[in-house]
């Protein structure tokens, strides 16, 4: 049995209480909204892209500790990344939180995102950890439809 503290690690709690890049963005090049009907989590991702590179990223919203921390750490991890690097990082992150690493993918360096390893023990919380990511990818694709985890 894993301890509950494996899920709610210090870094996660810190980002929940003091989320980084938690602001609206003027002149965002893309913006997308995500919603998790299971727990009512809502997130809006703002993105500024220049030459296929993330130059600024921020978010607003309200959600549980896992979804807020995930959005916060995601924004910290993605500044300066290219679109391909973002997608690669998401694939590795997805493998981490679902406990099913995609063998065919080359693992990206997760850095601070590794604190979400505990999520794989809590399958119902995977959606919380990935909501911001799914929303981000939707904004990159320029979709105007709100993302739902359902």
């Amino acid at each position: 049995m894993t301890d509950i503290e494996d899920l709610y690690q210090e870094v996660i709690l810190d980002h929940t209480k003091r989320p980084r890049n938690f602001r609206e963005m003027e002149n965002a090049s893309c913006k997308a909204e995500g919603y998790n009907p299971l727990c009512g989590d809502k997130v809006t991702i703002y993105l500024k892209m220049e030459d296929d590179r993330v130059t600024d990223i921020s978010f607003k919203g309200a959600g549980c500790a896992i979804s807020t921390a995930s959005a916060s750490i995601m924004t910290e991890s993605l500044k300066g990344k290219t679109r391909a690097e973002v997608e690669s990082l998401f694939n590795t992150f997805h493998g981490l939180v679902t406990g099913e690493p995609r063998a065919s993918q080359e693992a990206a360096d997760l850095g601070k995102l590794a604190v979400f390893s505990g999520v794989s023990e809590y399958p119902v919380r995977v959606k919380c950890a990935t909501l911001a990511w799914h929303t981000l990818l939707s904004s990159l694709k320029g979709s105007r439809e709100a993302v739902s985890t359902e």
Binding site: I4, E5, Y8, L13, L38, C39, G40, A62, C64, A65
Partner: protein, 429 residues
């Protein structure tokens, strides 16, 4: 005092010393023996099941009824001439008779079997509603309805060009009767309200609501999904036109529920679905419909669950609704006081007349996180909007934690919940 699990380490408080056990004629420890599922451990802790408003656990008598049916009597109903079909039909129709007696309906044919409360609401909205609600008519619901008592009426109103009116609730989660009175008028065709709120626990004054609606010749549908497990229902005393509830919330199997409707209303209503059992004769030119209740029961029904439902009704009546209500009332008082003492906890739903539902929020810790941490201590609660998003909007919260109690719950389990909440605070520092 018996401890029932390692989560229950909280020392006896002053509350505990006001010993709730043994109750006159009500032995919760003996009752717990009837529910095999409660004996298990979850994450190394004895299961503390506090999600009864979502679905209740099943006593051995219900499980045995299902096993017996499939082992000895399995057959289709209403058709065969052979012995098995006769036994199955008798057992199936016996549930209808039991429920008729249980809710004091005038006749068994006023009891229609459906999949559950949701299907019953859809049945009435589609059958009675589409035949009787015209453009500019009005349907009234309340602000504390479950989505299933909102959406079918919204769909009906949209189709007919009718208006859906909503009775507001106050800060305690009680329906504001003066506002209901103002909404009633000669265009009001249907009033559909919940008897007991799933998200707040509020017990609505349905007798009064029905009388007020009838003064305007409006029909009243009562959603009794959360009332049936806790209260003795008397449809003739209430004088409701329709009443519905689900088996699985009253300790019976899933997939079966009943619609009570006054016979003259059901007779006048067009069928809801076409198929077997609901017809008397079919040619390609014309179909003659069966009599009520069968007119509304197309297709092979959920026979096993219906028979199990009958066993659940018997089980509840053997214990008795008066002892159940008295015990649950004390459990609710105990839980309300205990939760109120946890710093940062705010109860959502503080109606004077209330069933055993404890919904709350805790500081800025999201209910979903609370639910996960409690689960790791073996405590099952529901977190989220409980299919009542308008209620969440009313209280300006995204979600609540809901501990919903049944008569097999104990004060020790409430202590475990409180200890669990202290653990949540510890994790969140």
């Amino acid at each position: 005092m018996r401890a029932i699990g390692d989560a229950l380490v909280t020392p006896s408080s002053e509350r505990q010393e006001r010993n709730l056990y043994p109750h006159a004629g009500f032995d919760v420890w003996k009752i717990r023996e009837d529910f095999p599922i409660l004996k298990q451990e979850v994450h190394g802790h004895r299961l503390v099941y506090l999600d009864n408003a979502a679905t209740a656990q099943k006593p051995q008598a219900v499980i045995d009824a299902l096993v017996h049916y499939y082992t000895a009597d399995n057959s289709n109903v209403h058709r065969g001439v052979h012995s098995l079909s006769e036994r199955a039909t008798n057992a199936y129709e016996e549930t209808r008779a039991k429920i008729k007696r249980h809710i004091n309906a005038a006749e068994s044919r006023e009891i229609v079997f459906a999949r559950g409360t949701t299907e019953c609401i859809n049945l009435v909205a589609n059958s009675y509603g589409r035949a009787n609600v015209q453009a500019d008519d009005e349907v009234i619901i309340s602000a504390m309805e479950h989505h299933s008592n909102i959406v079918p009426w919204q769909m009906l109103c949209e189709e007919r060009g009718a208006r859906l009116r909503v009775v507001p609730i106050n800060d305690d989660g009680e329906m504001i009767i003066e506002e209901f009175e103002k909404l009633l008028n000669s265009r009001t065709k249907i009033v559909s309200v919940v008897h007991v709120s799933n998200s707040l626990g509020t017990i609505n004054p349905v007798r009064q609501i029905i009388e007020m609606a009838h003064d305007w010749n409006a029909l009243v549908f009562i959603d009794g999904a959360q009332a049936a497990p806790h209260l003795k229902i008397d449809v003739r005393e209430l004088d409701c036109d329709f009443y519905a509830f689900s088996s699985h919330k009253m300790f019976g199997p899933t997939g079966i529920g009943i619609l009570y409707g006054k016979a003259e209303l059901l007779e006048a209503m067009p069928p809801y679905q076409g198929g077997g059992d609901m017809i008397r004769s079919v040619t390609f030119e014309e179909t003659t419909y069966n009599t009520i209740p069968h007119k509304f029961e197309a297709g092979t029904p959920n026979i096993a669950a219906t028979i199990g439902f009958g066993a659940a009704v018997d089980y509840l009546n053997d214990i008795g609704f008066d002892p159940i209500a008295a015990y649950e009332h004390e459990l609710l008082a105990y839980g309300t006081e205990a939760l109120s003492e946890v710093p940062g906890v705010r109860l959502i739903g503080t109606a004077r007349e209330k069933a055993a539902v404890l919904a709350f929020v805790m500081e800025d810790i999201h209910p979903h996180d609370i639910g996960t941490i409690l689960d790791r201590q073996g405590i099952a609660v529901r977190t989220g909007h409980h299919c009542a998003q308008p209620v969440m909007d009313r209280f300006k919260i995204p979600a609540t934690v809901r501990a919903s109690l049944a008569f097999y719950n104990t004060t020790e389990e409430i202590d475990a919940l409180i200890a669990g909440l202290h653990k949540v605070k510890e994790v969140f520092g």
